[in-house]
């Protein structure tokens, strides 16, 4: 139902570090070497961010975690100071 983890195939090197560290074991290495992992059980994501934290290509934008709509924070926006 959800799409919690989005990989950027142009940046991700397919190192599978995220597959190793995933708390919930929801990722699977791509059978095609060098390609981003497959999110096999997206509905079991814990949103703890271990994959994101330990991604060597994080700064380059290889991985993005997107909280589903009911998880998005409720913000009372203030005026620009």
């Amino acid at each position: 139902m959800f799409n919690p983890i989005i990989f950027n195939g142009d940046v991700c090197t397919g190192c599978n570090k995220c597959v190793d560290v995933c708390l919930m074991e929801i990722l699977e290495a791509n059978p095609e070497k060098g390609k981003p992992p497959i999110v096999k059980y997206p509905d079991e994501c814990a949103y703890d961010g271990a994959c994101w934290m330990q991604c060597p290509q994080r700064e380059q934008g290889a991985i993005k975690i997107v909280p589903p709509l009911p998880m998005r924070v409720s913000i009372l926006r203030g005026e620009q100071p």
Binding site: V21, E25, E44, A46, G49, M53, P67, P70, V73, G78
Partner: protein, 585 residues
């Protein structure tokens, strides 16, 4: 026996079940005694446990600072006993944590964790903030990669780490621990461990009630912590306490289910929580007046009295305020100085889901603490640190089974030991287990009967065509706990809950397509066992014990210290549950 499931035999001296903070500390310490140490971890020690993606605070008695205040170790112990536990606490274990955590923080520093800061005006160059006690007692530190560093240290010392193995059975014979059985969560193999000593450090129990946002994985504490440790202990006839204290959910950034990991449940300094009128419900907190450290000695007794009478340091009852029309609530940092906001962002970024949260706030929501406020919403119910549920251990962390030790959040009796409890108890349990292992010449034989039973159970689930998906059973079990062990409990409703749980067990036959789903089925089995403990303990405690435990029996509305100032222990014996009271001293 299904010949299809391969059995991996592992013999070790010290087996550590669960490689979170307590488990890693236990392994590191045990390795100093020339014994073989093995960690069995359900996920990966690089990211598992409550501090899997970081912890930024840990309380301790810090002699070089607290002595200058005139605040003694006994004062910290009294603060914790009265303010946090209202006297309902195992004080000997609390003393162990209070006395030793400063040394453990210095050990963490040796393992590469940054705990000192050049810009700090505090002795030791530490960053110290208020949390549970009348005086600032919690280190703030760079703990975002703590688990990576502890894993590295454990490996450097020769600890064998077996990731992706879920332990489900604890084996003992003749009052002596023998080993444990587990299931490979991605290879489907069965792991048969023989060990001369075992440390149970499996952490808290989660996923016991439906989750608030409807997003399954969205819980404040790790969602793969399904109370496996206490469930396997219970099944093995080892006593467990405090299971009745499953609490209502707190308020925080509820839709994201995180507490921002912060002392006093907001973020300090500078944060306030405001209500409908904009007036603060939790006022802004301030840094301690460090430049004047030591100028005036504190009167700890008076400070405690003030806090207890003023209701300070207690979380406001947001649900009640909400019912009175005082919501919505907002976390408000807009009045903070640049220095304060930078500090807060640093601290959030080191704790739990915090670094991901900050990134999400900034890059997906365009949020700025200087300008915007975050709504404070209810969290899911949980077996919180307050409950302090878990194994019964003595001052030396020994259970009633020789060679079996408990550590961290898996032991019962000390509310909110959290990371300090994991560091100190893990360390001590590791030492004790290693010394115990050295006294044992040989392993006890493999329990062939239990091994065959587990193989049969697992192949039954994997070959079941008509059984239920784990999710279906989980939802049913959670609904039972939520309704029958809810905010108000009473004999008849709890009994009805137990009847329905029995029905659920009768109607449940799990099916799994692969080892991953098999793991989830075994987790749901843990949830069902935890539910059984929660309902039985709720039924047996014939009193109410509200602050801070939130335990209310409509048929016994008063607190009854004469009879019930006691931990309630559940122990399975020949299929029946034996209930006993362990007096709180």
């Amino acid at each position: 026996m299904n010949p299809g499931i391969e059995v991996v035999q592992v013999d070790t001296d010290v087996l550590i079940i669960g490689g979170g903070l307590a488990g890693c500390m236990a392994a590191i310490k045990a390795s100093e005694y020339g014994v073989k140490v093995t960690i069995a971890e359900k996920a990966n020690t690089l990211s598992s446990g409550c501090a899997g993606t970081g912890v930024d605070h840990a309380w301790a008695y810090i002699p070089m600072i607290h002595e200058q205040m005139g605040w003694t170790l006994e004062d910290l112990i009294e603060d914790h006993t009265q303010l946090i536990a209202r006297g309902f606490i195992n004080k000997d274990l609390l003393r162990l944590v209070a006395r030793e955590n400063y040394d453990r923080m210095l050990d963490l520093e040796k393992f590469g964790i940054k705990i000192r800061y050049e810009d700090s005006k505090i002795p030791g160059k530490f960053r110290i903030v208020y949390q549970f006690h009348t005086m600032p007692s919690s280190f703030n530190f760079d703990g975002h990669d703590l688990k990576i560093k502890l894993t590295r240290e454990a490996k450097r010392r020769g600890v064998d780490i077996i990731n992706r193995v879920m332990i489900v059975a604890l084996l003992h014979a003749g009052g002596q621990v023998a080993g444990a059985l587990g299931v490979g969560t991605n290879n489907g193999k069965i792991y048969s461990f023989r060990a001369k000593a075992i440390v149970m450090s499996t952490g808290r129990a989660n996923r016991l009630t439906p989750n608030k946002t409807g997003i399954w994985g969205n819980h404040r504490i790790p969602v793969n912590e399904t109370g496996d440790g206490r469930a396997m202990a219970f099944r093995a006839g080892i006593p467990v306490i405090n299971m009745e204290f499953l609490s209502s959910g707190y308020y925080s950034i509820g839709n994201y289910e995180l507490n921002l990991g912060s002392p006093r449940n907001t973020v300090q300094p500078a944060a306030a929580v405001t209500g409908a009128t904009g007036e603060p419900i939790v006022p802004r907190t301030q840094f301690y007046d460090w430049p004047n450290l030591g100028k005036e000695k504190v009167d700890a007794t008076l400070n405690r009295q003030k806090m207890l009478s003023g209701g300070q340091n207690a979380r406001p009852h947001y649900a009640q305020l909400y019912r009175q029309g005082q919501g919505p609530f907002y976390l408000d940092l807009t009045g903070g100085t640049e220095e304060e906001i930078k500090y807060i962002e640093w601290s959030i970024g080191n704790e739990g889901k915090g670094s991901l949260f900050l990134d999400y706030l900034k890059n997906q929501e365009g949020f700025d603490f200087r300008r915007d406020k975050l709504e404070w919403l209810p969290n899911s119910r949980e077996m919180a640190g307050t409950a302090a549920s878990g194994l019964v251990v003595n001052n030396e962390l020994e259970t009633e089974v020789r060679g079996l030790f408990g550590a961290g959040d898996e032991i019962g009796g000390v509310p909110w030991t959290g990371a300090p409890g994991a560091f100190t108890m893990g360390w001590r349990a590791g030492e004790k287990a290693a010394k115990e292992a050295r006294t044992q010449q040989n392993h006890l034989p493999v329990d062939d009967e239990s091994l065959a039973a587990l193989r049969e159970h697992c192949s039954g689930i994997l070959n079941n065509r008509s059984g239920l998906h784990w999710r279906e059973v989980e939802i049913a079990a959670q609904n039972i706990v939520d309704y029958y062990a809810g905010e108000v409990r009473a004999e008849k409703t709890i009994q009805r809950g137990l009847e329905r749980l029995e029905d659920l067990k009768k109607n449940t036959s799990f099916k799994a397509e692969n080892p991953h789903e098999l793991m989830r089925c075994l987790e749901v089995q843990s949830i069902i066992d935890n539910a059984e403990m929660i309902l039985n303990a709720s039924l047996a405690r014939r009193e109410s014990r509200r602050a801070p435990f939130g335990f209310f029996r409509a048929d016994f509305p008063e607190q009854n210290d004469k009879e019930w100032l006691a931990f309630l222990a559940l122990k399975k014996k020949e299929g029946e549950i034996e209930i006993s009271r362990i007096p709180v001293r």
